[in-house]
């Protein structure tokens, strides 16, 4: 209920909405997107059709989303975010993405940002290997590239308050599975899919 209201408000405030997700068949998905604003996880989550949204957890930065009571409540109770530490390795030497693996194992979809951090000028950075590890571990899950536009203008890195510009989301068809693909090949293919809907000057670092 609160989740539906919040997602409606986010769709209204940012103008971002995805009517349908091509190729979605109920299996867990990995939505991966370009990252330029703290709003990105919230916006993709809110833009997804309700039946997918209820089973999707965004991966978000722990320090930002646990800073105050409101953010803690939203990330924990409303959109069930998977919070990751951005600095340092886990103390128990487990895989840094273990929390993400657990969520996918439980049958939920996730939203992840393979650039690893927000790009200050919205140019697409190189993808980190995390996406490839998820791919290796869960060959059955659907990899869906997502491109976000204008979000860095709505809430740029380092700013507190958003301005009401109109954002846009492009949800691409899932990546086709390719056998014996190297890490570099896979990451390049994933990055090209996200870049395909971005303006030319945002595709290179």
């Amino acid at each position: 209920m609160i989740a539906d209201l919040l997602s409606m408000w986010v769709r209204l405030a940012t103008g971002v909405s995805a009517r349908a997700v091509p190729g979605w068949d109920g299996r867990p998905c990995v939505f991966f997107a370009n990252h330029s604003s703290h709003l990105d996880p919230l916006v993709i989550w809110a833009a997804l059709p309700a039946e997918i949204r209820r089973r999707t957890s965004p991966v978000a930065a722990r320090d930002y989303w646990t800073k105050n009571a409101v953010r803690r409540w939203v990330s924990g109770k409303v959109f069930h975010a998977v919070l990751l530490d951005r600095i340092g390795r886990p103390k128990d030497r487990s895989h840094p993405l273990q929390a993400v693996f657990d969520v996918i194992e439980s049958g939920r979809s996730i939203i992840i940002f393979p650039e690893g951090t927000r790009s200050p000028d919205a140019r697409l950075k190189d993808f980190k290997a995390g996406l490839y590890h998820i791919r290796r571990r869960f060959p059955g899950c659907v990899m869906i590239p997502v491109s976000l536009h204008n979000l860095n203008r709505i809430l740029p890195k380092g700013r507190l308050l958003p301005v009401p510009l109109i954002g846009k989301i492009t949800v691409h068809p899932p990546l086709e599975p390719v056998d014996d693909e190297s890490r570099e090949e896979f990451l390049k293919r994933a990055r090209d899919a996200v870049a395909s809907a971005l303006p030319e000057d945002k595709c290179h670092e």
Binding site: P120, D121, N150, N152, R153, P156, K157, R159, L161, V163, P164, L165, I166
Partner: protein
């Protein structure tokens, strides 16, 4: 609200009912080739119902509701304008000020009838404040271009549009019919001109006037549309302080300003590589696509009405100028 005004509202409703019925019949009979045109016509009609309802209710409740309505329209138009115009991350503070402080303040000034400040607030104070704030950000790349874009957005989307609720505060000589009919006259004339130009253009339009800017504008459509609007305006004069020929002249100014306002906004849009300003009103495009013809018409109509029919709003010029301009 005077009696003639109520009759005009009834006429608008009758027109909408006719359009809806015609659209329904056409959708039943249309062949596969005509279907997209009919679907667009029906989407436009449905949106018209909503817009007329909002505008009607607003006018009925009077001054403050009009201020709030046009404040929201300005907000949505500015949002579309700034979204299409690339600005950098360092412009974030100035945009925040534009949307959340300058814009509401302008409408607040209109709301409290402070005409003296409302009529210069944006062109003087905001236009000085915007480059100052940007300079503090320290960015020099495309400085003038980006500053000018933000200022132009504030001018057209906020300052010009705020003249519409300002009409509600204009004191008119020897007139007790209220100011709502004046605002209705402006909006109805500008929108009727758009609709009639669209209809005549679809029926008899052949020669394109501005093929690169606005491919739908044809000579037949424009002349037919404006002529029909002038006839309509003489009819609407009954509810206004204008006599029929004054109303026709005012309507001519509104149509001309609307025509060129539309072309100018269209040129900006093409330059930015977009077909529509947005997609918030079904069948029409964005809010800006619907009000582009009012941007230039609103301040012109406001000042012409103030000059010829108002009492003591504008400072008075010397007598010999009065003689030349025929007041």
């Amino acid at each position: 609200m005077n009696r003639e005004m109520i009759w005009m509202m009834v006429a608008v409703l009758a027109l909408l009912v006719t359009a809806s019925v015609a659209g329904f019949i056409m959708s039943r009979r249309a062949g596969p080739g005509a279907r997209p045109v009919v679907a667009n016509f029906n989407a436009r009609t449905r949106s018209w119902w909503l817009m007329v309802a909002i505008f009607g209710v607003t006018l009925y409740f009077g001054h403050w509701t009009t201020v709030v309505l046009f404040c929201m329209i300005s907000f949505l138009a500015l949002r579309e304008f700034i979204t299409l115009n690339e600005t950098g991350p360092c412009d974030h503070p100035v945009l925040f000020w534009c949307f959340f402080i300058i814009l509401p303040l302008q409408y607040f000034l209109v709301g409290i009838h402070w005409y003296g400040l409302a009529s210069i607030f944006i062109p003087v104070y905001a236009f000085i404040f915007i480059p100052v704030l940007r300079v503090l950000g320290g960015q020099t790349r495309d400085f003038l271009a980006t500053t000018a874009k933000i200022q132009w957005g504030m001018l057209t989307c906020v300052y010009f549009i705020s003249h519409m609720p300002m009409i509600m505060t204009l004191p008119i000589r020897d007139w007790d019919g209220g100011n709502a009919p004046l605002l209705f006259f402006l909006v109805a004339t500008a929108q009727a001109s758009d609709v009639f130009q669209y209809c005549w253009g679809k029926m008899i339009g052949k020669r394109k006037i501005a093929p690169t800017l606005s491919p739908n504008k044809t000579l037949g459509g424009t002349v037919g549309g404006i002529a029909t609007t002038l006839v309509l305006a003489t009819g609407m004069s009954l509810a206004t302080p204008f006599n029929p020929w004054q109303a026709a002249l005012m309507a001519l100014v509104i149509c001309a300003a609307g025509f060129f306002g539309g072309l100018v906004m269209s040129a900006i849009k093409r330059d930015l590589g977009a077909k529509d300003w947005g997609s918030s009103i079904r069948g029409h495009g964005g809010v800006m696509d619907r009000i582009d013809s009012l941007c230039f018409a609103a301040p012109l109509f406001f000042h012409l009405t103030g000059f010829y029919f108002g009492s003591g709003v504008d400072p008075t010029p010397p007598d010999w100028i009065h003689t030349i301009l025929g007041r």
